[in-house]
Amino acid sequence: MSTTKKFAGAALAAALGVATLSACGGGDAKGKSADGSGETPKSKTVTLVSHDSFNVTDTVLKEFEQQSGYTVKVLKSGDAGAALNQEILTKGSPRGDVFFGVDNTLLSRALDNGIFTPYEVKGLADVKPEYVLDKEHRVTPVDSGDICVNYDKAYFADKKIAPPQTLDDLVKPEYKNLLVTENAATSSPGLGFLLASVGKYGEEGWKDYWSKLKANGVEVVDGWEQAYNERFSGSAGGKKAKGDRPLVVSYASSPPVEVLYGEPQPAEAPTGVATGTCFRQVEFAGLLKGAKNEEGGKALLDFLVSKKFQEDMPLQMFVNPVVKDAKLPELFTKHGAVVEKPENVAPETIAKNREQWVKAWSSLVVK
């Protein structure tokens, strides 16, 4: 196999030559990646592979680079599921040193495929223990976020009904035809909401709950974008699209985001969170097996749970920190919801049943 590849590689160097040559028109596009080959022995580059939602403030990252002496290269590809699957496919010959973006719904798949090398980060003691799900430290928790039903405050004020607070509320007749959710097969919040019902009603009871939800007129769309920006009446996008569902499955951090990106910023969030409907997602990072720069990878992992990064994170990725003493920005404390008791399902249980739950859910709700 490998000789074939090398032969093909050599034979086709010419073809590539043409491509590269002509591609030089791309100007400084080359500049940022040339340093990332990781092959030169003295390379001080450490590569972080993640999904499209990863974000960090430049100055925070620069500070890490200055202190550690490493240059960080960030690669993003696809959503969380696709990004992880790409890592599984390239197991043993990874594209980077650290992968960030496995959540608890996918954790077992990542661990079973053995793509990570154990490493206990400096500062693990500061991480809230309930998030340290892998005792072998193949993965380290980095952030958490809650998938919850959001409601349109204006709608419920207008109608003079109290917004729903719990999963049980959602099947009540006063909330008939108000909720829009996402396809559990293709959308991360959709799956989270399904798991919330599993956590609450058990592996048997959830189907019954969904039958009632369906009878109560739940609408299912394929992705979060359609649900939130088109169908939901409380969001800025949904208002323009004349969305008429005042309840949507989204994130606990969505109200602060509505405030942050409002123009002008409203004094109060236009939407609220039904805190009794939540499923908590925890995102992990790990050192990839076969990493070219293991030392750098370790340093980067340490950085991901450092207070500096943890406090930068909320406004970059709209998630909550996992270290105890990290302070939340005012935006979150003012407009965000505190979810005391999210529903929970163990990663192994999710891994074992996920496909079958999704299938059962699809035939129950979608077909």
Binding site: A13, A29, A185, V366
Partner: protein, 560 residues
């Protein structure tokens, strides 16, 4: 004449050598960046330690959910194609035979959807047929999450394919042939049916097959508009690969789609060859006239109304939303694109940078597509045997293979030096070029074939070396086609989303990726900027297409 053709045939010994040499680069390109990755990922799915598991093919195909997908994929493609023809054929006629103000602009406008990313189109289209959309407001009609939304969106996307392919030929058919039939006693309709329709037949067939191909492999439209109840093969391949990592199922589905697409392309190649039979073509400018009489005016009006409703309206809604800034209509969202750090200091993507990234990637992809496609077209210019024809079709295959298959294939193949490109920025333009090459070849080939070989001979006799003859004769004659091909490759690269988003890239999002990210976040400014960026993307595409309209070579029909 007979003599000349025989002589060309005779020379083919040397010609074949040159052709093979020219073809080596495109062949290597497709082998390395398409065939090998796709074969590897399919192989990963159906080969285990115990060898090939061909039994899996039967197992997967026997699953009822997969059967549903196959059935839906096929019938919606047929229905979409039929509906597109029904709606677009009158348009093809009007664009071909009528002269009216704004025709060039409108022809560019109807082509815009074709090069727009589906994320943008989905959003725009929902605004038309979705809740609170135009149809809803006017007549209370809502089509989102019904199959009608999918079908109409397919018409929206492919209207231009029919108008350009069929209309391009229609405009060049000599109307005097129909007149001759009338003089010979045929009624108006009989003349059309017996003279024009047979001449148009192959073009209609070719356009239908292209529409069928595009709708059979439809991804974004089905995902966004279909809701969770509808899935095409392409959507299912994506789900099985990217979400579930069920490679065996994905491999079987990829192969099924591959066979289907191969079949479609085979039939297409066959109809195109038939189309090459001599038709009496004339300058399109001579066949078009101002509409006269109530019948023709009604037809023109009907077509304009259809275009307005189906194509202009969704695009217009997009623009409207991008201008609907807080505090009244204006360029608030556009201004926001410039000040990084506004609205709380955390923009996901500095949006202007995304535009710049997109342009760079698209330029690189265009350059690659031009080199590869140009060489392939040059190699294919001299009509050769079956082998060459097969190559022609081969170039179209990337259009029928899921971007996620190619993207994941890259991961497991291009992973060793000297070709460890997995983390290189070049992978993005390479993947985009795969989609651009077919357009380059299809634009260049007819023009290159139309260059009379004896012009080259004339130049040679006058003292021009072969290279000089190519520079002095071929190049000036195909320069416009080359520009048009470049423009199409550029527009297609600019809007490419599927492959780009799956390829690990240093954090340099392109416009469509940035739009998707902005849409993936709550908040008015994010949404508004997504609309503004989409509008910019649309304008860039529209402007390049408008420029192309002006460059359209008068003797070749612009087609897809």
């Amino acid at each position: 004449m007979v003599l000349a053709r025989r002589e060309v045939g005779r020379e083919s010994a040397r010609g074949t050598a040159v052709r093979l040499l020219l073809m080596a680069v495109p062949l290597a390109f497709f082998g390395l960046f398409f065939a090998y990755p796709v074969a590897a990922i399919v192989g990963r799915g159906i080969k285990t330690d115990e060898g090939w598991q061909f039994g899996r093919i039967g197992e997967v195909l026997a699953r009822p959910d997969i059967a549903d997908v196959l059935w839906f994929t096929t019938w919606q493609a047929f229905a979409s194609t039929a509906l597109t023809l029904l709606i677009a054929l009158p348009g093809a006629y009007v664009f071909a035979r009528f002269e009216f103000p704004g025709k060039q602009l409108l022809r560019a406008v109807v082509t815009v959807p074709f090069v727009l990313p589906t994320v943008v189109v989905g959003t725009a289209f929902l605004a038309l047929v979705g809740r609170g959309g135009l149809l809803d407001e006017l007549w209370g009609v809502r089509l989102d999450t019904t199959v009608w939304a999918i079908l109409l969106a397919h018409v929206f996307f492919n209207y231009a394919v029919v108008v350009r392919t069929v209309g391009g030929l229609w405009a060049q058919l000599d109307p005097r042939q129909e007149e001759a039939a009338r003089v010979l006693g045929a009624g108006r309709f009989a003349a059309w049916r017996r003279v024009t329709l047979p001449a148009l037949g192959p073009a209609v067939a070719a356009a239908s097959l292209m529409v069928f191909l595009f709708t059979f492999t439809s991804f974004g439209v089905v995902q966004i508009l279909g809701g969770p109840s509808y899935a095409t093969l392409e959507v299912e391949v994506y789900r099985q690969t990217a979400q579930l990592l069920d490679l065996p199922t994905a491999a079987v589905l990829t192969m099924v789609q591959f066979v289907a697409v191969g079949l479609i392309l085979g039939i297409h190649a066959w109809t195109v060859r038939r189309r090459e039979t001599a038709l009496r073509l004339v300058d399109p400018a001579r066949t078009a006239h101002r509409p006269s009489g109530p019948g023709q005016r009604a037809l023109l009006g009907g077509v304009l109304l259809t275009v307005a409703l189906l194509i202009v309206a969704p695009l217009a809604v997009l623009v409207e939303r991008s201008l609907d800034a807080p505090g009244g209509y204006g360029f608030g969202f556009y201004r926001a694109l410039q000040d990084v750090g506004a609205g709380g200091g955390t923009f996901l993507v500095p949006p202007l940078e995304a535009i710049w990234n997109s342009l760079q990637y698209a330029l690189a992809a265009t350059a690659i597509a031009l080199v590869i496609g140009g060489l392939a077209a040059a190699a294919l210019t001299r009509r050769g045997g079956r082998f060459v024809r097969g190559f022609d079709a081969l170039l179209m295959l990337p259009l029928g293979v899921s971007a996620v298959t190619v993207g994941f294939g890259f991961l497991i193949t291009l992973d060793e030096p000297p070709l460890d490109l997995r983390t290189s920025w070049i992978l993005v333009p390479l993947a985009q070029a795969l989609v651009g090459v077919p357009f380059v070849v299809r634009t260049m080939l007819p023009v290159l074939r139309a260059v009379d070989g004896r012009l080259r001979e004339a130049a040679a006799v006058l003292g021009a070396s072969p290279l000089r003859a190519w520079r002095e004769v071929d190049l000036p004659l195909v320069r416009r086609a080359l520009l048009i091909a470049a423009g199409f490759a550029f527009a297609v690269s600019l809007g490419e989303f599927g492959a780009t988003v799956f390829i690990a890239r240093p954090d340099r999002p392109t416009l469509p990726v940035a739009v998707a990210r902005l849409l993936g976040r709550a908040g008015e400014m994010n949404y508004g900027q997504a609309m503004a960026l989409s509008t910019i993307l649309m304008l860039v595409c529209a402007v390049s297409l408008l420029v192309l309209e002006r460059l359209r070579p008068d003797k070749t029909s612009g087609e897809f």
